[in-house]
């Protein structure tokens, strides 16, 4: 264990702030291996990633918003609304091509993100409130529209993306997850990404350096909206029509990001660590499920572990650094 941790520590230094989450992930994956020897067979491991994919994608989107100094509480509602709206749409146009519907959902997610971003930046409403309001609006609107439940079924072609496999063995969801991961990693190394983090760190400094702060922050929300819509497509594919597809996902996504060592308030943390946080959370769910922890106590265990993990992360990165500050700046 200690060698593993040492290796991780080295890796963690390179990866920035996420070190504890990688340790957590390794511990959880090891525990899974012990509990379930078959876990690492290609099929079941791929199934695990496939299952984690929506949360990982949501975490990547949520990361963009959190690192720029905000919250996005509306992602769960976007997932629910996306699934229900897709079904409703198929109810009216059963033969619509899946590409079109998927693209439409992503565009709608982008619009929701755009609205979140504009309200937050232009009207100066704290994002917590904006997205809380958006959550109520989306849930209300989509059910008002559908009269409470969607009136269509999702065809297999549409669902294949979340349910099917490429080449008979590699789930599309895993590919989507990898693609989003790579895109997010690339994005955060790009000029936009660096500017985004700097904006989250100090909005004034960024604005005075020529950063179009409202635009950058709005784009972060837009990214989160698109990620949520993509998650909606995957969830819809994975499990079909449900009126509560996205319930609680916003909290899971935020928890995942925070587990990844990203600081609420912005300016610090890596997107890879945030996605590792999502994998950790999913691994924890799976482990609790396999352990046969009584269903009822599951959430208690989850609560303890999240607090403990974040607490240990905070001990590492908050306290020690703060103590250290005065040494060099007089």
């Amino acid at each position: 264990m200690s060698t593993a941790t040492a290796v991780l520590t080295g890796a963690g230094r390179r990866l920035g702030t996420g070190a504890p989450v990688y340790a957590l992930l390794v511990v959880l994956l090891a525990a899974l291996a012990i509990t379930e020897p078959g876990f690492y067979e290609p099929d079941s491991f791929l199934a695990f990633i496939k299952r984690a994919a929506p949360l990982v994608i949501l975490a990547a989107g949520q990361y963009l918003v959190i690192v720029s100094g905000g919250f996005d509480l509306s992602v769960g509602a976007v997932v629910t609304a996306g699934v229900v709206a897709a079904a409703e749409f198929y109810g009216s146009f059963p033969d619509a091509p899946w590409v079109l519907v998927t693209a439409g959902l992503l565009a709608a997610g982008a619009v929701v993100g755009l609205v979140n971003g504009l309200i937050t930046t232009r009207l100066r409403v704290p994002s917590f409130i904006t997205t809380l309001g958006m959550m109520l609006i989306l849930e209300g609107a989509v059910f008002y529209w559908t009269g409470g439940s969607p009136q269509g079924t999702l065809p297999e072609a549409f669902r294949a993306f979340g349910r099917g496999t490429a080449g008979g063995w590699l789930p599309w969801a895993v590919l989507a997850c990898l693609a989003v991961g790579a895109a997010a990693w690339w994005l955060m190394r790009s000029d936009f990404g660096r500017t985004l983090i700097a904006t989250g760190d100090s909005e004034r400094a960024a604005a005075l350096a020529g950063v179009r702060v409202p635009r950058v922050r709005t784009l972060a929300f837009l990214g989160s909206g698109v990620a949520a819509a993509l998650a909606a497509v995957l969830v819809a594919g994975f499990s079909g029509v449900s009126a509560q597809a996205g319930r609680g996902l916003e909290f899971e996504a935020i928890t995942a990001v925070v587990l990844g060592g990203v600081i609420l308030g912005g300016g610090r943390g890596s997107v890879v660590a945030a996605m590792a946080g999502a994998f950790s959370l999913q691994a924890l769910f799976t482990l609790l499920n396999l352990q046969g922890v009584s269903g009822a106590l599951e959430s208690t265990v989850q609560g303890f572990i999240v607090i403990a993990a974040v607490g240990l992360g905070a001990a590492d990165y908050g306290r020690l650094r703060r103590r250290r500050t005065p040494e060099e700046s007089a």
């Binding site: 100066r124 704290p126 849930e139 609420l264 959430s299 208690t300 989850q302 999240v306 607090i307 607490g311």
Partner: protein, 339 residues
């Protein structure tokens, strides 16, 4: 010396403007005006529809529906003022009603009240200690606490439990004229919280900690203790809400807090009342106004038989719009620039 005079000269004028601004821009005043406006508009709309929003039952209903959310939101104000947040309130309410009802079934009302408040204080203490001691962000800390409490509820209860004696149920049902007695509970708790936040050292320290924790600490404020105290206060209010709901429901209900989404609703009410989510500004008086707005809106929707899903849309719009309005004057106030 000249410089001093130049600054001193416009002084009285500036103070005058501050006082005056208090009137128009102060969110507390704003939200109460909004509540009045919503009531008036609602009354008109309902009247056109052929009803009467402000009939005896209507008024009672509005007040009655404000109590539970009001108690929670008043408590939530305390933590938000201090720069923290509590997402565990919903589950704490559920547990509170269960503990209250079960204790009252076998024991006295007095022990039950003590038990609920004791439990609440303990949960608040735990929240506070996790936030300050383990330095876990309040959002995550209290979310984690919510999960812990949820597990406890789900492991132990499978539906309503316990029984509240009729004597205690009077808290939930009696009224004096059109005013339910529980409104006096809310008023009492609100006045107590108002006194604590505005007139005690703890309250001053809460504002200071929420405004700038570092500055407060440097001034000798025990910020950690203050945050812990705010969490305990919040949980005690939640405990009071649980007792009220127990009285109202006549039994403990595992979903009493969560189905009504008291966690997010209370935050919405607090923010609607003009308290800054970042802490340090706002107060209990505004929060009550926010609760009243939500409750009047609910009542209007009820009277007009508006689709419940549509209600959510309106609520979302109202919350965003209100906060956008609060944010506006701040934008036009020129930022002081030392030149």
């Amino acid at each position: 010396m000249t410089a001093i005079r130049t600054e001193a000269a416009p002084k009285p004028a500036r103070r005058f403007t501050r006082r005056r601004r208090l009137r128009f821009n102060d969110p507390v005043v704003g939200v109460w005006l909004a509540a009045a406006a919503v009531t008036l508009l609602g009354w008109i709309v309902v009247a056109i529809d052929g009803g009467n929003l402000l009939s005896r039952t209507g008024v009672t209903g509005i007040l009655q529906n404000s109590v539970a959310l009001g108690l929670v939101a008043v408590g939530q104000s305390a933590v938000i003022l201090t720069g923290s947040l509590d997402l565990s309130v919903a589950y704490l309410i559920s547990i509170g009603t269960l503990v209250a009802a079960e204790t009252m079934q076998d024991g006295s009302v007095f022990t039950a009240v003590l038990a609920v408040l004791g439990l609440s204080a303990a949960v608040g203490l735990a929240n506070g200690l996790i936030v300050t001691g383990l330095k876990v962000n309040a959002f995550i800390a209290t979310l984690g606490m919510a999960f812990i409490l949820r597990g406890w509820i789900e492991d132990n209860y499978t539906g309503p439990a316990g029984k509240v004696p009729d004597s205690f149920q009077r808290l939930g049902y009696d009224r004096i004229g059109p005013v339910p007695v529980s409104v006096f509970l809310l008023a009492g708790v609100a006045v107590a919280l108002w006194l604590i936040t505005k007139r005690t050292r703890l309250g001053h320290h809460m504002y200071a900690t929420g405004g700038d924790e570092h500055a407060a600490r440097l001034s000798g404020v025990r910020t950690k203790r203050t945050v812990v105290a705010a969490h305990v206060l919040c949980s005690l209010c939640v405990g009071a809400a649980a007792l009220f709901l127990a009285a109202r429901l006549g039994a403990g209900a595992p979903w009493a807090g969560t189905e009504a989404r008291y966690d997010l609703e209370s935050i919405a009410a607090v923010v609607l009342g003009g308290t800054a989510l970042a802490g340090g500004r706002g107060g209990v008086a505004g929060t009550l106004g926010g609760v009243l707005v939500l409750s009047v809106l609910d009542s209007v929707f009820n009277q007009l038989s508006v689709d419940p899903f549509f209600k959510n849309v309106v609520r979302g719009v109202v919350i965003i719009a209100a906060v956008a309005i609060y944010a506006r004057p701040r934008r036009t106030t020129p930022r002081r620039q030392p030149a």
